[in-house]
């Protein structure tokens, strides 16, 4: 496969530490004592729970319904009983709680009725819908709902479909073993993506430190007679970053502000392709994934693990050494220490590394930046990390945006090479989250301002209306008086007097009617806006709260069935 490869600037070469976990084939992890399945396992809307405590569930049964298009369904990883639907600590550095379905396995691992789909007869829409309902998300770590990436741009032709088997992070080998052992299913999954996107070329990128995986993939591609190209790319962290791999294979650079489809290219992880194939060919939703167990352990290995397995319980399979003092989820460059051992394996969990000072020596104290520029040399997005560092430190967030902080992919190359041991990525995360927080605050303040101004407007209008009413009453009384006076005075001049007074009254009435119409329109617009923007504080609610909300919504629907529909059409025109 001779093809012209491109280079991305920067990158680093940390020790790969991959051989430890490659000596044994993939093993099936035993059923854990219980499964904690978070509902929010993908980018986008939080799926709504459709089971409650006490329910019996079967393996593969829907437990969380996708909420909106960018969201993916969640399924029971095994058969058993739902113990609770409650808040549990998430595998996230913040240690935040989120809604989880806790299942006690019954040990039977009994599947729900499922079977292969008639793929040939399915429309592209049906395939996407099915992938969403099967919970297929990007298993490279970003967990973006896969169906959402399977629509080609209407204006830009799809040139290349890039399949990511680079796996550049040290320690992690789950994609390597997946390609070695299940290459055929991966290639068939890629075929589905190809069918939906209709690219001109399909390029499968694998780092050149995985010759066995590349050979297996080549054999599978040949066996299935597919025109896919298996390309070995130079081992250089972060070659497995989607944007870096796209650059290496196609020469295209996708900036933060653009979508890759706008440049005619789309990228999927090999494990995602595998799960997509399982979903179509067997009707199996995503209930498990491959996880590498490595680091400070006796027996590093890759396991097929049920989603929801508590990490501490899983890591025991690899027999961690007694000095293990934490679990890193992900690789050593971008991973994070999980808050505790109870947090569950999720769809984004590709690797667990037992942490100890022996595996990851404690860092030397931070020194001042000497502007040596090593970080800028290492940055794969060609940013100036030391400048971003100064601005982040000074909380000069406007400047951080000018220096493209949101193009930072947090790969950690800058921190890796910094001689002053500055945790640069942390500074950038801080700056980004501050900017987001300010944006939210500003939006909230803008909303409040709009509401206040509307209230003021309404008050003024009401005042004006009151005044008008008084004027009208006074005018009517004056007219009445005048009429009486006229009637009392003489009959000959009466008609004239009535006419002159009656004319202004009709003018006032017409003006008032016009105002009323404007007000009604404005109120309809405001209501439509409120309806269009769903309340955001319902993103993470408990099952009880959800029930309460549902009840209220039902009552509301009974009480006021008409106004919502009648208010909608003018609002659309207004926009």
């Amino acid at each position: 496969m001779l093809m012209n490869l491109f280079k991305f600037k920067g990158g680093v070469k940390p020790p790969t530490n991959k051989t430890q976990s490659l000596t044994l084939p993939i093993a099936q992890a035993p059923l854990p004592s219980r499964l904690i399945v978070p509902l929010h396992q993908s980018i986008g809307g939080t799926p709504r729970p459709v089971v409650q405590a006490g329910d019996k569930v079967l393996k593969g049964q829907l437990i969380g319904k996708a909420d909106g298009w960018i969201s993916a369904a969640v399924h029971a990883p095994t058969s058993g009983t739902v113990l609770e639907v409650a808040m549990h600590v998430q595998p996230h550095p913040s240690g935040l709680d989120a809604l989880c379905v806790v299942i006690e396995p019954d040990g039977k691992d009994e599947w729900i009725i499922h079977g292969p789909l008639d793929y040939a007869a399915m429309t592209p829409e049906a395939v996407r819908e099915h992938l969403q309902q099967s919970g297929v998300v990007g298993l490279g770590g970003a967990v973006f709902p896969t169906h959402g990436k399977l629509t080609a741009s209407k204006t830009v032709p799809m040139d290349e479909l890039v399949i990511n088997g680079a796996e550049c992070e040290p320690f992690i080998t789950c994609d390597d073993l997946l390609m070695r052992e299940r290459a055929e299913e991966v290639v068939r999954g890629i075929g589905i993506f190809r069918d939906l996107l209709q690219p001109k070329k399909v390029l499968i990128g694998i780092e050149d430190n995985k010759p066995e995986a590349a050979a297996a993939m080549r054999a599978a591609v040949d066996a299935l007679n597919e025109p896919f190209l298996v390309v070995q790319v130079p081992t250089l962290y972060p070659a497995g970053g989607a944007k870096q791999l796209i650059r290496v294979l196609t020469g295209k650079e996708v900036p933060a502000a653009k979508r890759s489809t706008d440049l005619g290219v789309q990228c999927f992880n090999v494990a995602t392709a595998y799960t997509a194939w399982r979903a179509i060919a067997y009707g199996e939703p995503v209930v498990s994934r491959l996880v590498t167990l490595s680091g400070n352990v006796h027996a590093p290995r890759n396991y097929e693990v049920l989603i929801g397995t508590p990490m501490g319980e899983l890591l025991k399979l690899a027999a961690p050494h007694p000095d293990t003092d934490g679990i890193v989820m992900g690789g050593p460059m971008m991973g994070f220490l999980v808050p505790n051992e109870q947090v569950p394996v999720v769809k984004a969990t590709n690797c667990l590394i037992a942490h100890s000072d022996r595996v990851f020596p404690p860092k030397a104290p931070e020194m001042p930046c000497i502007r040596c520029g090593a970080c800028a040399e290492a940055c794969p997005h060609e940013l100036q990390p030391f400048e971003l560092y100064w601005f982040s430190r000074a909380k000069n967030f406007g400047k951080t945006q000018e220096y493209h902080i949101f193009d930072c992919i947090e790969c950690g190359c800058c921190s890796f090479v910094c001689p002053s041991r500055i945790p640069l990525v942390q500074y950038f995360r801080f700056a980004k989250s501050e900017i987001w927080a300010r944006e939210r605050e500003k939006n909230a303040a803008d909303g409040a301002k709009t509401r206040f101004e509307f209230k003021q407007l309404r008050d003024e209008r009401e005042k004006a209306e009151k005044a008008e009413k008084l004027v009208k009453v006074a005018a009517a009384q004056a007219a009445k008086k005048a009429a009486e006076a006229a009637a009392a005075a003489a009959a000959e001049s009466g008609a004239e007097a009535v006419e002159t007074v009656a004319a202004p009254i009709t003018a006032v009435d017409a003006e008032k009617e016009a105002k009323k119409a404007t007000i009604a329109a404005a109120m309809a617009r405001a209501k439509a806006q409120r309806d269009a923007a769903p309340a955001r504080n319902t993103a993470a609610v408990t099952i009880e709260q959800q029930h309460a909300i549902d009840d209220i919504e039902a009552r509301r629907a009974v009480l006021e069935p008409a106004p919502q529909t009648s208010a909608a059409p003018p609002a659309e025109k207004a926009e």
């Binding site: 650079e253 933060a256 994070f336 104290p365 020194m367 520029g373 100036q384 001689p419 041991r421």
Partner: protein
């Protein structure tokens, strides 16, 4: 409880960087000591002690952790650069004053490591050449036949500063001769007849300069510095000196002479490349160094000082922040828009 990702770090540190800069200076120091005289070693020792003492006092006064900052090696690099730019037989207190000023004022009063807008070593040189012009212009004569003990005695002031021991630098001597000759002196004759000139520049000094070049190339190969600054600095000196030399070879020395005279090589590889006070973007580095090269030539040929490296680099230090601001490179995916 734990430091955040990345959990793996490259084996590097500030002190490693500084140590490598010192190692890169060793060939030049050896050549200096061998060809010009061992007095430089004494000056290096005095400067190092002064720098570490001043650094320790300043760190203590600012309540900064001594154990972390004192071994970072930055003060030693400054001290060595000062010693290498001062006359080797200068009285001991001169280098003490220079080093003290560099560490206390130019470095710590501006905020310490990584914060100084000016190169501390060049500040020391500028302060001393303005304050003590005579002492800063006395360089040992060629073929100086004095033992180490005699040289130490001169530095420490135990022996009288015999005028015969000291003269002008090759650069300064040429400038003076051209000025006195008032157009009647030919550079080719000067280079051929005067004892202080060697094969292509100052006798002895030309090889010290070559050793700086060697050390600098090693730093480039080790990726401590990029090619931009040395290249642009040397290229701009070659261009301007070459142009004037072609215009009038009798009155303007050739580019080779300028490259291997005075502080050109030291400036190109060790001083202009200081990332704290210089530019950091690729284009910025080129502009910064080209400007420094041009100013160096103008000051040393048309100005009143024996060499122009120090003032040229300090002047460009002033411009560095603006140059950096205006030369931000386009980032990944945004090259078409730039």
């Amino acid at each position: 409880m734990f430091a955040p990702a990345p959990f793996l770090l490259k084996n590097t540190s500030v002190s490693q960087v500084m140590t490598q800069v010192c190692i890169a200076l060793i060939p030049a120091i050896a050549a200096y000591a061998w060809l010009v005289g061992p007095a430089i070693l004494v000056q290096l020792v005095i400067a190092t002690f002064t720098a570490l003492l001043a650094e320790a006092v300043m760190l203590y006064l600012q309540r900064k952790p001594l154990a972390l900052f004192l071994p970072d090696g930055s003060a030693i690099v400054t001290a060595w650069l000062i010693a290498l730019t001062f006359p080797p037989l200068a009285p001991w207190w001169l280098i003490v004053v220079g080093t003290f000023f560099a560490i206390v004022v130019a470095k710590h009063l501006y905020g310490g490591l990584g914060q100084n807008p000016f190169n501390p070593a060049m500040v020391a040189f500028a302060v001393c050449i303005v304050s003590f012009p005579a002492l800063m212009s006395q360089w040992p004569n060629v073929g100086l036949q004095a033992s180490l003990t005699e040289q130490i005695n001169i530095i420490l002031g135990f022996s009288p500063r015999v005028d015969a021991l000291s003269g002008a630098t090759p650069l300064d001597a040429m400038k003076t001769a051209l000025k006195l000759g008032d157009g009647g002196v030919d550079i080719a004759q000067l280079l051929a007849n005067q004892d202080i000139y060697g094969n292509f520049a100052g006798r002895g000094w030309e090889w010290v300069a070559a050793a700086y070049l060697l050390g600098g190339l090693w730093m480039w190969q080790r990726k401590l510095i990029t090619w931009h600054i040395p290249f642009a600095y040397i290229a701009s000196i070659v261009l301007i000196s070459g142009a004037l030399w072609l215009y009038n070879p009798a009155q303007f020395a050739n580019p080779l002479f300028h490259l291997f005279s005075g502080g050109t090589m030291l400036g190109a590889f060790f001083i202009a490349t200081d990332p704290v006070s210089g530019c950091t973007t690729p284009r910025g580095k080129l502009i910064f160094a080209a400007g420094a090269g041009l100013l160096t030539y103008i000051i040393r040929v048309f100005g009143g000082y024996p060499d122009g490296v120090a003032f040229a680099i300090l002047l460009m230090n002033l411009c560095a922040p603006v140059i950096d601001l205006l030369t931000q490179p386009p980032i990944f995916g945004m090259k078409d828009e730039a």
